[in-house]
Every structure is written in structure tokens, then in C-alpha cells.
């Protein structure tokens, strides 16, 4: 059973709808015990980095960290991906999981913010998450802060400079864009994750 983690931030309907479409079994949960026994974990996220503080308060952060430790595949989406890093300029007082090094940062003033719309990926062909996704594929983004270019980056995007659109390390994955809103390509990426 895939656990979609509900920590009270934003709208989980579109992720749920996409997994339904792919015929996956899943549960939307805010219980650490469900996360602990999940076969895979999806951490969606829309909104503010500060909303992830609820993960630490509720015990979900420890449950996720432990599950990752024992090899449970994990996918963070949007703010869910940013949370995998150490911190974000969006909320100094909120710590990320710190699984990946670096800080999420604001877009430069030279471009409009938020970055909203369909932009292209430059894909590292060795990515398991992005298997079958060609470079230059379009995906849908909506965010005001971005993850830095990291060693774990498997897809890069350009908007006011390059940033990590997808990261991957072993069984831990993150995407800044919304695969559940990115048409056929997005569904393929979610299906890749579900099939791991």
C-alpha cells in the first residue's frame, strides 16, 4: 500500500486522482504507523515551506526518516521535495529533513515569480524515476522557491538560472514539478515510481 502523507497542507485530490487512474492501491494518511508499514511513501506539498513543520510535530518526520532508512521508496513533490533538503529561505525557522545538502532559494528578481507553467527538463538518462522521459519533455511547475543544483540532480530546469527539477538517490526521489498535473509524461513518472 502506498501512503500519501497528509500533513494538513494544501490539496491532495490531484495526487489521489492520478494514482487512482494508474490503478494503484493507496491510503491518504496522517498516522505515523501507516507510514511505517507503507510499501512506498508519497509526500505531496503545495504552499509554504513552513507548513512542513507539522511533519516534525506529528511524528510523521521520524516515521518517514525511519522508513527511508529501511529502504522504503519515497517521492517528495514540490514542497515535499524541498523538504528533503536542509532548509529553505522561505522559512528560516523550519528545518528540512536534511537528506540532501543545500538550501532552497528564492528566484532572482530578473524573472517573474512564482514560476508558473510548463517548462522543459534536461534529463539524466540514468534516472530510474525518469525512465522513458526524454530530455526537453514539458512538465508543469508552480513554485516561488527552488532547490539548488545538487549532486543528486537527475533533471535540470532553466528559469532565471538552472535549478534541480528532479533529484534521486537510491530509493529516494523528489520532483519540483507536479507529475499529477503534467499530462501523459507526468503519469509516466508516477507510474515509474509505483513500479519500483
Amino acid at each position: 500500500m502506498i501512503a500519501i502523507v497528509d500533513y494538513g497542507a494544501g490539496n491532495l485530490v490531484s495526487v489521489k486522482k492520478a494514482l487512482d487512474w494508474l490503478g494503484q492501491e493507496f491510503a491518504i494518511t496522517s498516522a505515523p504507523a501507516d507510514v511505517a508499514k507503507a510499501s512506498k511513501i508519497v509526500l505531496p506539498g503545495v504552499g509554504h515551506f513552513a507548513s512542513t513543520a507539522a511533519l516534525a510535530r506529528s511524528g510523521l518526520q521520524d516515521a518517514i526518516a525511519n522508513a527511508i532508512e529501511i529502504g522504503t521508496p519515497f517521492l517528495g513533490i514540490c514542497v515535499g521535495m524541498q523538504w528533503m533538503f536542509e532548509r529553505s529561505q522561505e522559512s528560516r525557522e523550519t528545518s528540512g529533513l536534511g537528506l540532501l545538502q543545500g538550501e532552497c532559494e528564492r528566484f532572482p528578481a530578473s524573472v517573474k515569480s512564482p514560476h508558473v507553467g510548463w517548462n522543459q527538463l534536461e534529463v539524466n538518462p540514468s534516472s530510474r524515476l525518469l525512465r522513458g522521459v526524454p530530455s526537453a519533455s514539458f512538465v508543469y511547475f508552480t513554485h516561488s522557491f527552488r532547490a539548488p543544483v545538487a549532486e543528486t540532480m537527475v533533471a535540470c530546469c532553466e528559469y532565471g538560472g538552472r535549478f534541480s527539477a528532479a533529484v534521486e538517490r537510491d530509493h529516494v526521489f523528489g520532483v519540483q514539478f507536479h507529475p499529477e498535473k503534467s499530462g501523459e509524461i507526468g503519469l509516466k513518472i508516477l507510474n515509474n515510481f509505483c513500479g519500483l
Binding site: G47, Q120, K181, E184
Partner: protein
Amino acid sequence: MLTKRIIACLDVDGGRVVKGVQFENLRDAGDPAELAKAHSASGADEIVLLDISAAHERRATLLDTVRRAARQLFIPFTVGGGIRTLEDAAAVFSAGADKISINSAALADPTVITRIAERFGSQAVVVAIDAKRSEDSSHWEAFTLGGRESSGRDAIAWAQEAEDCGAGEILLTSMDRDGTGSGFDCELTRTVADSVRIPVIASGGAGGAKHFVEVFREGHADAALAASIFHYGFSRLADLKREIGSQGIPVRWPC
């Protein structure tokens, strides 16, 4: 490169898609769920569903229509019309919308923008502005209640205030051009787009590919929305995107 979005709009009344010329003389154009899916398949970057009757009849947005349309849509989906409160917005989100569009209620009480943005994120809040050139042509006024009454507010100042309140995007409709097919109001669009930092969606007046090229190039729009040109086989979305792309505007094609 970030592409310019082409958004297909479904104006819905009583569960059917309709499209009026300058907000009147409505004609029936089909089932919203079917049309949304067809537009997505032919390359729409986003779907907007506006319940055009809701604001003045004060009835709830057609949640059932939203649910049916959302089920098979895997591109961004915005719903507007008759949303007055955080609770109204929450109901639309749980029916499957990714963003809500709010107009009259935000003009009446801008703090509703903030309340929805705090709960669902700014990216989920689109403030729709129906703008009409003032009689002396000196400025644009923001209209309320489906374009039936002037709010007395300057459209540009209102767009800036909406951004400050937490709006994630502005959906800017030129009432002077709406339904005419004579082209977007590039001057209005550019004035608003250059006054805010959030994306501006131009609406009202699309008649062909050249109008989209103009509003992206001269109007500084981030996205452009049209309804009637897609509904009656007037212009296939795929052909339209190819044509816009061939003129050097970055669009998502093929998709």
C-alpha cells in the same frame, strides 16, 4: 524554456458549456467534462471552468460538473464562479480543482484572497478581473457581478492589491473585447502585466493565432485564454499552438 500557456475556458451555465458575445446571447456548446477532456487531448495547457450564472444567482458552483471534469484531467484545472468564502473554495478543491478563480467576492472583501491562500497556497488562488475602459478612456474599471456593475475600482490598482493579498495569478478579461474575436486588449494586458510580479492570463477577444502572438509579444501576457474559438471547430487547439510556435513564441508543442 518556460512556455506561454494557452488556456481553454469553459463557460458553464446549468451544467452545460455556453459562450456569449460580450456576456450576453448565450449559445449551448456541450458537456463540460467531454469538452475539458477533448481540449486537454488536443493540447490545452490548462482548463478553466467558469460558472457564469453563479455570481448573480448566488448558487453554489456545480460541484458535480467539477468532479466529472476533474476525473480525467491531468493538467491544471481552475474553477470559478460564485466562490465567496473559504468553505466554498474548499468544496471546489475537494471536487478536484487545482485552483479557484475569485472575482466579485474578492472585490467585496479582499481578505478572502488571503484566507484561501493561507490554507491552500497562493498558487491555488487566481483573482479574475473583468476590466472595462472608462467612458473618458483614461483608465480601466474593474467590474463585478459577472460584468454587470462597476466596482468603481481602477483595474490596475486592484490587480496590485490582489497580489499583495496573496493572489497567485491574475485572470484579466477585457470586457470591451470579450467575444468579439477582434484580438486581445494588448494595452490593458501590458499595463497590468508590467504592474505585478505574478503571472497574468489575458482573456477576451481571441480570434486567431495572430492575436495570441500579439498578446504574448506586445501585451507581455504569461498565458492567454479563449473559449468560443475552440468550441465550434473554429480553430483546432493543436493547429493554433503550431502556428503560434512557428512565429517564435515558446509553446508546449508537441505535448
